[in-house]
């Protein structure tokens, strides 16, 4: 027996048939975030390009000046110093921030939970301190007159050199301070990657007669390579901006521009020479530089990374 159908209230069906609601709820929930991201992330990107190509004019329309800002920036000796230093910051940070944490993380990984947690917490401490605080502490420690190191080596008849006012050493101090602050955080990233490695692999390799070195080389490093790539890329992207604070607090780019970098220069263009166009062009050049380094790195890593 098939159901005999009766349409109740046929007229009402027709009357309401056209009504159809669009679900506005997702739009309402997303609106604040989308508006803010559009206004404070994507719009500035477009604006930045504009600022780099036009000369702002208070009393009339802005004037298109093409690549003048870029050419001006590129022609600037300060810019050359800053670009050179930026590369030093990035590439000298890599051994400390990308490679050194790997063995440290592996050591912690193989330890018992108790000791491992102590080391983890101790190494993580600087992540919680602000870069201003870290910089101040290091200024004090390195102070050649009344610093901590001087008070240790002074009694031995030695004199602490003034590392921060020496063109040859200041940039390395800042790189060291940056590494000191961030090494613990990168160790944690590696520990997260290590915790995903199954003990079965290790045991299987052990049964095949592999020693420490072989296990590290052939198993741990390959399985960790996605994390290594991630840490390497974040180091490239963020180092220039991370060292802004130690540069500003410890040296202001000096002595003799030996510690300035592109981001610091862009900041100075804007807030010291009030040259908006140079600042915008400089920011875009940073973007270009980072893009190039990352692209090169990706290609180089392609062979090494093992995605499981």
């Amino acid at each position: 027996m098939t159901q005999t159908l009766e349409l109740v209230a046929t007229t009402r069906i027709e009357r309401t048939a056209a009504r159809r609601k669009i679900d506005l709820r997702p739009a309402v929930f997303l609106a604040p975030f989308v508006v803010l991201v559009a206004l404070f992330t994507y719009w500035p990107l477009i604006q930045l390009v504009y600022l780099s190509l036009f000369k702002l004019n208070r009393s009339g329309p802005d004037r298109f000046i093409g690549a003048d800002n870029f050419l001006g920036v590129l022609d600037n000796a300060q810019f050359h110093d800053a670009a050179y230093n930026s590369l030093i910051y990035i590439f000298l940070s890599i051994p400390f921030k990308v490679f050194l944490p790997i063995p440290l993380a592996v050591f912690i990984w193989t330890m018992g939970a108790k000791l491992g947690n102590f080391y983890k917490a101790a190494l993580f401490l600087p992540t919680l301190l602000s870069f201003v605080v870290v910089s101040i502490v290091w200024i004090w420690m390195l102070n050649p007159v009344m610093g901590l190191f001087q008070s240790v080596i002074g009694p031995l008849g030695l004199q602490m050199p003034s590392l921060l006012s020496d063109v040859a050493s200041a940039i390395y101090v800042i790189i060291g301070v940056g590494a000191w602050k961030l090494i613990g955080f990168n160790i944690l990233l590696y520990l997260a990657g290590l915790s995903a490695i199954s003990r079965d692999y290790v045991e299987a390799m052990r049964l095949d007669g592999a020693g420490d070195w072989v296990v590290l080389r052939r198993l741990i490093v390959p399985l960790l390579s996605p994390t290594i790539l991630f840490v390497a890329i974040s180091t490239v992207v963020f180092t220039i901006q991370q060292v802004f604070t130690p540069i500003d607090v410890m040296t202001q780019g000096g002595p003799l521009n030996s510690t300035t970098n592109l981001f610091y220069l862009v900041y100075q263009y804007m807030f010291e020479s009030f040259n908006v166009g140079y600042s915008a062009a400089g920011a875009l050049l940073i973007f270009l530089l980072l893009g190039l380094i990352i692209a090169a790195k990706m290609i180089w890593f392609e062979k090494l990374v093992h995605y499981s």
């Binding site: 989308v34 992330t41 994507y42 592996v106 201003v132 102070n143 613990g184 741990i220 991370q242 973007f287």
Partner: protein, 278 residues
């Protein structure tokens, strides 16, 4: 962390302990000295001992005496609280929309969220600075807070957690007569408390420690935060007034450290997944 996943040979282990111990000491020792110095009376500051012979709080009084540190603390505390509160609410709303609804353009919009994560602030600070000036928010709390309210990383993290949330519970709550806000507040939020708590701490530390943005957007005591305040103090004294400086350093580091030690494990995990920028 599972112990003994990989047993290293004894000599290698010894090397590991030595390296880790040295690294850990290089971190802990200076911090203990900072703390000790902050409690030293003026005549002991340049002595060799790490800890004060005579314990004093004078340096802490001096901090508030020599600079409007109370005002800085208030600015930092208020703007951090408002900003973190706003970040959490806005991110939770957005993550909820992404996780719960299927709407046209969702994929594209989420790609834009991921994209925003990759854009370093060093690229966008200049136009934002000009915009804030145009809005008349220079040297105000609003200038500190508003440009940072949308936190793509937080949206990403919360969405991950909400995707694991059983969809039937949304339906059950809707059948029980709850509207969307009520579902979010009474059903979703209680079940993601741990990640919200950890995210709160991470965002708090991130904001509290921020240097660059307050540096460019504040100018006077009206909006200046502790990080900029201590920087000014350093400039003014250039290390001649070590006691109060170290007291100030201790004071502004305390909130983050306190929260961290209160709920260490969970926060470490969230730190890792959020990836703080330093």
């Amino acid at each position: 962390m599972a112990p003994s996943m990989l047993k290293l040979s004894r000599p290698l282990m010894l090397v590991g302990h030595i390296i880790l111990l040295v690294t850990a000491l290089s971190i802990i020792a200076p911090l203990i000295l900072v703390l000790g110095t902050s409690f030293k009376p003026a005549n002991e500051i340049y002595g060799g001992l790490p800890w004060p012979r005579k314990f004093t709080l004078q340096n802490y009084y001096d901090v508030f005496e020599k600079l409007p540190f109370g005002r800085y603390l208030w600015n930092s505390l208020a703007t951090t609280t408002l900003r973190v509160g706003g970040q959490l609410l806005i991110a939770l709303f957005a993550a909820y929309a992404f996780a719960r609804y299927n709407f046209p353009g969702r994929g594209l919009l989420f790609a834009l969220v991921l994209g925003a994560m990759m854009i370093p602030p060093q690229l966008t600070f200049l136009p934002i600075y000009l915009l804030i000036n145009k809005l008349g928010w220079f040297d105000t709390w609003a200038g500190l807070i508003v440009p940072n309210l949308a936190m793509p990383l937080a949206v990403f993290l919360l969405r991950q957690h909400l995707l694991a949330f059983p969809k039937e519970l949304y339906d059950a709550a809707a059948m029980d007569g709850a509207n969307e806000l009520r579902i979010l507040w009474s059903v979703v939020l209680p079940n993601i408390k741990p990640v919200m708590a950890a995210l709160t701490v991470v965002l708090f530390v991130d904001c509290w420690n921020e240097y660059f943005w307050p540096l460019v957007i504040t100018e006077t005591d009206h909006a200046m935060t502790v990080q900029i305040g201590i920087r000014r103090f350093l400039d003014a004294e250039r290390g001649d007034d070590l006691g109060p400086l170290m007291a100030a350093v201790t004071l502004i580091s305390l909130p983050a450290l306190a929260v961290f030690f209160a709920c260490q494990r969970q926060i470490i995990q969230t730190f890792v997944s959020v990836g703080i920028k330093g």
